[in-house]
Amino acid sequence: MKDQPSLPKTFSRRFFIKSSSAFAALAVIPNSVKAFYNHIKEIFVPKKEILPLSLRINEKPYSLDVDSRSTLLDLLREILQLTGTKKGCDHGQCGACTVHVNGKRVLSCLTLAATLPETEVTTIEGLAKGDELHPMQEAFLEHDGFQCGYCTPGQIMSAVACVKEGRTTSVGEIKEFMSGNICRCGAYNGITNAIQSVAK
């Protein structure tokens, strides 16, 4: 998503919309209500914890502070603006959020960021080498491996791992080992063809 030209460079449009609506909502709540709410919260809700986290994402080192509840998916999308990784279901049921941690495909929506110190994360943004697409990205273009493209980053991350795992000896095997990635548009044949072409 391109930044609005009128906004300062450091704020994305996404951040601006979100934060401005939050400030607007705060302004209309009376102070007494806010104080009461905070008091109740102190009693019933444990304080949130912010933890330091250092890890590497797409070969770049990061040192961050993360909420103990933050998933890797939210860290990537909301904090680091790496929005290539998609949120489909947020419950492990679709595969749209698939990334690699230490070279293995996992679901970033079910991974707490706090479990990742000193790991190496690869997202769809980390596949291409400069302007040169990863062979799997090329193959998805070549074989029409998508329609709307929403599931595609997850499909491609999963496909790269599927080839590495050697689970591509037949169309049936590819389909079984890609079953963790749902495509709402039903681009499955294109996806399978793309993977076969890379596996050869």
Partner: protein, 331 residues
């Protein structure tokens, strides 16, 4: 998610020191994180078992020991498992997805919660999630519900595939309690039936840790099969699953193991059918009789009698495949 303190202890002792009555352990997180997102689990602190649970898979003289932290992928693809315990690999690969299996651990798989839709919907009554609130499934949608071993308090099933293979192979679970003592429990006694207390899935004491699962040597060779019937071909929980293992010598069944998922609150063994098959030949007729025997023990609820036919058919298929000794994999 509700806020929680996050700890990553280095040792079991440290983990026990940190644990309180409002602690949740975290392994692969594939179930625990989901439950926290849905406010079904609301711990004050989460203890990451990463440095506590080992992922070692080790052969011993009498079997193989799977560290609680071994991932489902590591177990399913382990050369020794593929060679001597192929049933474990088959069952694991029939479950979840490659991404989830890369995260999910042996310990976590045993302790995953039911997939009963009422348990997952915090707006509906459920004795397992909220003791005393009633059982939504008892008079509701029972497609995913039990057909044996249930109570009027809960009719949910245990969702695991891996555990069905483990119970069939007479596995044992090693646990350590917070006072430091260790205990070995047979797999059959690890999970429990709902009875009056469906909020308890297992007999594991509070805050105790699973340290490993042991699978004894067996003489089933390739005479094994895992059959799973579900709403779609892959990436779905079982309506019915069947693990079968046969020890066949000179055409005679010397020992049989038959277990099912999707039927009860715990992985279920069909002991009468196993005994029936002993010392018989693996003919279609005997296999059908064993399947009939097992499925006639089930007592379906008002809305899931379709599972009886599914079960009988799945047992026939599993036993036939096991007798064939082909180990064929159809992807």
């Amino acid at each position: 998610m509700r806020p929680f303190q996050f700890h990553t202890p280095k040792t079991t002792e440290e983990a026990f020191e940190m644990a309180t009555s409002k602690t949740a352990y975290l392994a692969g997180g594939t179930n625990q994180v989901d439950l926290m997102k849905k406010h079904i689990a609301t711990p004050d602190s989460v203890i990451n078992l990463k440095n506590v649970s080992t992922n070692t898979i080790k052969t011993t003289n009498d079997g193989i020991r799977l560290g609680a932290g071994s991932t489902n992928s590591e177990v399913a693809n382990h050369p020794e498992i593929l060679q001597k315990y192929p049933l474990l690999s088959k069952a694991i690969l029939a479950g979840a997805s490659p991404q989830i299996r890369n995260m999910a651990t042996t310990g976590g798989n045993l302790l995953q919660r039911t997939r009963c839709p009422y348990f997952y919907d915090t707006a509906l009554p459920c004795n397992k999630r909220n003791p005393g609130s009633g059982c939504g499934a008892l008079k509701g949608n029972q497609r995913m519900s039990a057909i044996i071993g249930y109570s009027s308090k809960c009719v949910a099933v245990h969702p695991s595939d891996f555990c069905v293979a483990l119970v069939a192979l007479d596995a044992e679970v090693e646990t350590t309690q917070s006072d430091g003592t260790s205990k070995t429990t047979t797999f059959e006694d690890f999970h429990r039936l709902p009875g009056e207390n469906p909020e308890k899935d297992t007999n594991l004491p509070e805050n105790a840790l699973i340290t490993s699962v042991f699978v004894p040597n067996n003489a089933f060779g390739n005479n094994i099969a895992y059959v799973k019937i579900r709403e779609r071909d892959s990436y779905a929980f079982a309506l019915i699953s069947v693990a079968a293992a046969l020890e066949i010598r000179n055409g005679t069944i010397k020992a049989a193991r038959l277990a099912s998922g999707g039927v009860a609150h715990k992985p279920w063994r069909w002991k009468n059918a196993e005994n029936y098959l002993k010392n018989k030949s693996a003919t279609r007729k005997n296999i059908e009789a064993a399947a009939k025997l097992a499925s006639s023990e089930a007592e379906p609820l008002a809305h899931n009698s379709f599972k009886i036919g599914l079960l009988e058919g799945a047992i026939i298929t599993a036993l036939s495949q096991a007798a064939d000794n082909t180990l064929e994999t159809k992807w």
